[in-house]
Amino acid sequence: MSLIKEFTKGFVKENPVFIMALGLCPTLAVSSSVQNAIGMGFAATFVLIFSNIIISLIKGFIPSKIRIPAYIVVIASFVTIVDMVMHAFLPPLHKSLGLFIPLIVVNCIILGRAEAFASKNNVLKSFVDGLGMGLGFTLALVVIATIREILGAGQFFGINVLPKSYIEKPMLVAILAPGAFLIMGLLMGLMNIAKKKK
């Protein structure tokens, strides 16, 4: 029962982006299209799951004084693995995510979960936590990206969804940097209202 709870908490109750406000830098940067959001979300989820597993496995072995550098090494290794594998087998996706993949290293969600969860819980729980948090992060990215892409380019997943007259003169601000801040802020506010009403 508690495993299901660990899994679902990442979606709404402890959503890394909207509630814990972690990993905002990649969120703002890659949410300009749904395709990038999904790619980034899954790459981060992969790193999160494996770093959680490994850190949970070696938690007894690492003295607490050097735990942060040890975690960073584990996380950075998995990020590099994702980078190399994606570059070799999914070159188009690697091209569009490019710069953001190395940035997963400094995504505080991953170090945050390692520190707050994986270093205190067993492997199975850490795996479920990583999966849930990763998918929660992906969900948040996709929600923001959907709004930005539809408003800013009239497209969803690269397919035109709004009339041609709109696509020619879309609300460009939504796809530019300010749009990311505005839309994320509004969504965070909505989440807070919903939370208060409960």
Binding site: I58, F61, I62, K65, I66, V73, T80, I81, A153
Partner: protein, 191 residues
Amino acid sequence: MKYYIKLGLILLLITSVASGILALLNNKTQPIIEENQRKEAEQARKEVLPEATVFEEVTTPDFSYYIGKNADNQIVGYTFVASKFGYSSEVKTMVGVNPDLTIKKIKIISQSETPGLGANCMKPDFAPKFEGLKLEKLKVDKDGGDIKSITGATITTRTVTNSIKEALEKLMNILPKNNIFEEKSAEEVSR
């Protein structure tokens, strides 16, 4: 003291395991990545110079280009990569030129300009703007030329234009020398 040495050794152990795994994986993926990039460049060259069947690479200290030849071993044009920093990224363009150095076709091969503005240079109506242009015609409308810039993305348009211009000038500087050189060697052979 002993405790701190132990800490260092544990870190050393973790980092060596990590680097070992990464080195192994790098060994496996590196050839695939290089192969992909080679294929991609080959594909782009074919696209901008469809008549050519063989491409010969020519490298000079500050510029490298390809001579495109058809099945009869005649030169049908040249291709090169023009690149310059645009608004937010390096914009790389594969350019194909005819033997008289008018532009045949161009293709943007990598960029990460602003989506919706500069990134519109990837749209199908951008590249044809350059077709058939000569070196002196490479100017954006805002600089008094004929190339119509993308709405709201003059910087990207200008970047592409200027990068091609610079690369084409380099190619022009190299080509006559080579031709003279070839003529000389031909003379020497006839003597």
